[in-house]
């Protein structure tokens, strides 16, 4: 939250804005025709059968829905506590979302019978493939970043060619190229190693740029000072430059890990039984595709939420260290 010094009037207190809001919402509802919705059914005693209420019913239900929505927004605006406000809006959006899925008429029994397997097989595979890849990618990124800043033309050329190539190709294509291409030169690699190599190389290329930017942000004077004291390259890096640049590198690296968690779904094309693969296949026999897709979506979402929490913890920790 930005701490502003000027406090403006709350927009929900302006009658003009509320009128404008109401009209817009009313028009939207009117177009989508809510006479068959829950509101329409609740108004049944007054309007009669929702299917036969016609234009009049449509007007009444649309205005009723708009009134309810505007009242809800007003109520939220009266909540004094910022945190409480956020939680309320979150809960409302979540309930809206879930009821949207609920309206698909999903077979929850089927989801219950499959969810344990999706966690033990799917999430487990997704997590370990991503975790190994992010570690390798970090190593590649350190080496790549150093090479990209080097005055050695050879090292710079290799590093810049690498980042250009692997950032320039779709990850899916890299997965295929590594899985199908390596055997052509005599190395037959299995699906999981092939996927890990593809993810590491691709994300290594992105992270090279992150690491380079992190290292470059340390004032050059520190480098000159260390050199003046007679320190060697490796020592300066380990003891002076990296400790200061790591707090800058960690947040975007966390972002990359979250992105990789989802991109690891591309490995499913070469037959790794990770979460995306299971989402596509488990529902096939009984044609419960929607169930599995939504379950997997929720699982991915939960995983990223946990990771976001961890990331914000780490960020806070480094912030404390810096301010000390």
């Amino acid at each position: 939250m930005i701490q502003d010094t000027v406090t403006e009037d709350i927009i929900m207190r302006k009658p003009k804005f509320i009128a404008f809001l109401f009209t817009t919402i009313f028009i939207c509802f009117f177009i989508f025709d809510p006479s068959q919705s829950i509101v329409g059914h609740l108004l049944e005693p007054a309007l009669g059968d929702p299917e036969k209420s016609g234009f009049y019913g449509r007007c009444v239900t649309a205005s009723m829905s708009a009134v309810l929505l505007v009242l809800n927004l007003l109520a939220i605006s009266w909540i004094p506590n910022f945190r409480l406000q956020v939680i309320t809006v979150w809960l409302q959006l979540l309930i809206l979302f879930l009821s949207f899925f609920y309206s698909f008429d999903l077979s929850f029994e089927f989801i219950r019978s499959k969810i344990w397997f999706m966690v033990t097989q799917g999430i487990f595979t997704t997590l370990y493939v991503s975790a190994i890849s992010i570690v390798i990618a970090s190593f590649i990124a350190i080496i790549g970043a150093v090479a990209k800043m080097s005055s050695n033309g050879f090292a710079y050329a290799i590093a810049s060619f690498y980042t250009s190539f692997f950032r320039g190709l779709p990850l899916l294509m890299q997965v295929y190229l590594i899985y199908l291409g390596f055997p052509q030169i005599g190395y037959v690699i299995d699906a999981v190693p092939a996927g890990i190599i593809a993810l590491s190389l691709c994300y290594g290329a992105y992270m090279t740029e992150i690491f380079r930017a992190g290292i470059m942000s340390i004032d050059h004077g520190q480098w000159e000072g260390s050199r003046a004291l007679g320190f060697k390259f490796g020592l300066i890096m380990r003891k002076i430059i990296l400790p200061q640049s790591i707090p800058l590198i960690i947040p975007p690296t966390g972002n990359q890990f979250i992105a990789m968690l989802k991109d690891s779904s591309l490995v499913s094309v070469i037959g790794v039984w990770e979460l995306m693969f299971l989402a596509r296949t488990l529902g096939n026999k009984t044609f419960n595709h929607m169930e599995m897709l939504i379950t997997a979506a929720m699982l991915y979402w939960m995983m990223t939420m946990v990771l976001e929490l961890i990331q914000s913890r780490i960020e806070r920790k480094y912030k404390k260290q810096q301010s000390r």
Partner: protein, 276 residues
Amino acid sequence: MKLLKPLLGTLLIAGLLSVNSANAGAVLDKIMSSKTIKIATDANWPPQSFINDDNKMDGFDVDVAREIAKRLGAEVEFITPNWDVITAGNWYGRWDMHVGSMTPTKQRAKVLSFPAVYYYTPASVAVHKSSKVSQVSALSGMKIGTGTGTTFELYLNHDLVIDAEGAPAFSYEIDNPVVKSYETSVVALDDLRLGNGVRLDGVVSSLPTILEAINNGYPLKVVGTPVFYEPLAVTVDLGDNELNAKVASIVAAMRTDGTLTTISKKWYGVDYATVK
């Protein structure tokens, strides 16, 4: 730079460990000595092959694969790569055999070999229940969905050559369709169920798959008689003639002693193992 050395070393060792012998002719020896066979199949094709309630591979193809392995005296391990990775050939020993309802075509025979046809499935056209189409030829010029890289797609593109023995002749009944290719034709059925002409006017797929979808409440119907009969074969990589001969004799024995018919009746309720 000290980090670089162990890293390269591990990568190299990992690479070397996973190198399998891809020597031609050695596949059968490898199966016999290790007593295991890696069989590739698809996890997306009920009732041929799918993941069952116990989260294990199951289905018609899977049963046939298990029986072949049993008669070879080997344990099965199933692998589920994407269809296009299988049909690309050059397996380099990643898996030894593929039992997954593959039609032997001339193009595929350039990179794969087909030792034995084990059953024939009718390929049919499905439309939405509300569709007024009553014969296949009425779908000319309309939006037809199917799986990419399948014989159904080749049929729609008027480019299908079936050169297996005993396959009945066929003719192209749909002219100039707008072909929409999906990852599998099951996804096409999902689009067709949205309504007549919403995204698709029809889907070409195997009759058992369409019937299975209808059994599971898809609002679809089958149009006319099957457009062609697909012979479906066991597939192995090029080069091992001993394995070819062995598989051919095993499948022939399974046909004569009625095992194939039994498995077919178990999964389809009909005998697809012999030509009509």
